[in-house]
Symmetry: C2
Subunit: 395 residues, 2 copies
């Protein structure tokens, strides 16, 4: 039996959308805080224009693609064409004018979008506007792949918090260090280099004061070409970070400290860090979840980050902070590099308290596994969170 015309069209739409999503990956390190979006303009079975969202304040994908097309074909050729866009075009004046008007001005016959923009400023308005202009609009083609492009942006729009990805490097028996702390290096050079790509795509690289004191890391992106460095951030409740810490190297550093009156000495330290080190102090209340342990309220940290347009948070933390994020149900994704070695007694990735029953174990879903050099990279995510986000963009 031959496929129906509808099935063929859907197949074609998915094929072009796959190409658009591929293209959007080239903007992975660039667009923050905007989502990564790509647009293909297709006419008579071939691409006549394509574009990706650029750095913030510059052209969005649709405008790029239209400019590209106009340089290649006469403007009339766009009339009747099909636009493939990985996200619903924006309908509001932000840092740039609304893309939907630029699209409508081209008078395309069809616009195919992978997913609705959950941004409350858009949220289907552009779809309606295009339909009112007589354009056939199809939405929901490869929506999950499009979500995977922008989990942070979607999470921020839908749930007012960023997408948190915790990077862990461990042995086959899941040890991140020997008991004495030796951890250089458990994984091999290829895995460590791969980890830089995940830093590069994030808006914030986050760690705890324990890691800063122990390793004095830079936490910047190295050995990957990127036009943009993520902000570095440290959970430092007692504000004990050393002013000479290596991560104060010019780029912005956000310090999350306990919300209390600072001493005079602390106020001077803050002033120096702000004026000389590009740092910012953010006061966060203590969590009422942990009674005795008096930790910062990590939900408030996440809310602050979302309010400040942070999409993806890349966490590289010690066992206690990892456990705290997990126990607060804030660990959206685990990026685990596992080396083919067996260590025995050593430090765990998560310093959790014991479960009473196996059925209480935190359940995630593996969605990618890949050999990176001699190590394995495993990606797992919180299935409930993901399904909730998928549902929000599919409404």
């Amino acid at each position: 039996m031959n496929p129906s015309p509808e099935a063929l069209l859907r197949q074609q739409d998915e094929q072009w959308m796959r190409e658009a999503i591929q293209l959007a990956h080239s903007a992975l390190y660039i667009t923050s805080p905007n989502p990564r979006v790509a647009c293909l303009i297709v006419r008579d079975g071939r691409v006549v224009g394509k574009g990706c969202t650029q750095a913030v304040g510059q052209d969005h994908a649709e405008v790029q693609a239209i400019k590209d097309a106009k340089a290649r074909v006469p403007a009339e050729a766009l009339r009747g064409a099909t636009f493939y866009v990985t996200l619903e075009p924006c309908s509001h004046y932000g840092r740039t004018p609304p893309c939907v008007d630029a699209v409508i001005a081209c008078q395309p016959a069809r616009v195919v979008i992978a997913m609705r923009d959950p941004n409350p400023l858009v949220a289907g308005r552009s779809i309606t506007k295009m339909q009112q202009a007589g354009i056939e609009v199809r939405s929901g083609i490869l929506a999950e792949e499009a979500l995977a492009l922008n989990p942070g942006f979607i999470s921020r729009m839908v749930t007012k918090r960023p997408w948190l990805r915790s990077k862990i490097a461990c042995s086959m028996d899941a040890k991140v260090a020997l008991a004495d702390g030796e951890s250089k290096w458990i994984t091999a050079a290829a895995a460590r280099a791969d980890g830089q790509h995940w830093r590069a795509r994030s808006c914030v690289v986050l760690t705890g004061i324990g890691t800063v004191l122990a390793d004095d890391p830079l936490l910047n992106v190295r050995a990957v070409e990127t036009p943009r460095q993520p902000i570095r951030a440290v959970i430092d409740r007692r504000f004990i970070i050393d002013e000479k810490a290596a991560l104060f190297n010019g780029g912005p550093v956000w310090l999350f400290v306990e919300d209390r009156a600072l001493t005079a000495a602390e106020q001077q330290k803050e002033a120096r860090l702000v004026q000389e080190k590009n740092a910012r102090l953010i006061k966060i209340p203590l969590s009422d979840r942990h009674g005795a342990s008096e930790a910062l309220d990590l939900r408030a940290v996440m809310a602050y980050l979302a309010d400040n347009e942070i999409n993806e948070v890349h966490l590289e933390a010690g066992p206690r902070l990892n456990a705290a994020f997990l126990e607060a149900n804030l660990m959206d994704e685990v990026l685990m590099y596992m080396a083919p070695k067996i260590i025995g007694p050593g430090r765990e990735a998560f310093a959790l308290s014991p479960l009473q029953r196996l059925s209480e174990a935190r359940q995630m879903v593996f969605f990618e596994q890949q050999l990176v050099g001699t190590d394995i990279r495993l990606s797992a995510r919180d299935a409930q969170r993901w399904q909730a986000m998928l549902a929000a963009i599919s409404e």
Copy 2:
């Protein structure tokens, strides 16, 4: 540039050999203690006969393929044909007559073999014999894939010990059970079913007395069609196994106990187990490696198994026995099913003593990773052992 005739021929040889290796996989559960071997007879670009080694005492692959061919084409058609065999044909009278004579009688033009048979009774003799009969012989086509078919047989021939594969089911943080021992179930049904295939291909399923006491397992192959059940074996130094243990269900059970004089009661227990339960007691000296811990000498256990034609050992053991095999450098392969859950404090897969330096960690090599249902299956092996075996068959 076009490939040379030599390159084309090699490509063709690899293609047919790949098909032969694929075919040999269908004999995975059948041939023990013989190796799994397949043979294709190719004439004018098509297969005219094929066969696999059958159960012990029955036809080897070459004889099967010749019979198959003779049922399909006139006997003269084999003259000038090419035989593809995944292992050098045998040259000795074992339970069946030498295959090499049956091959030579067909007067093929070429015989392509994946690897020399390291069996000292063969070891290149068949290659020489075929060459003396005017047949062109090519050896070493996809040798590593052919080795992967029969790691146990090759290991037994080359190093006089079986290939030991340890199956581990754990969480993302490598816990095999909660601290109180609850381990049913960490992995999901699909992974547990997959594990049965690995039992089915083994000659022996081995465990420790601790696991028998705690779980009273059957350790047989279930839910997989197999013509043959592996032998079950237990490391039970003090001979304390319960005569009512579930694994005494008719199939042979081997018990490895300490080499000492048995008490009268123990002698009676042994007699009952031998006569009524199909059991066998094997006395093994204590290891001088572990001083105080007084464990059985696991190298002696492996030597006994090799002497008794055991190729692959499937280990399903607790943390202490796993650690003992690892520390004795006898863990050739780890088959790890990892569930996407995080448990926190619990039992480790390996109860090892602490390392002084990270550089002392046991180093393996990942060679396969695959999603099985919702769990990940990771395969790692001892790289040195593998390279030594590869070298032995490539000489």
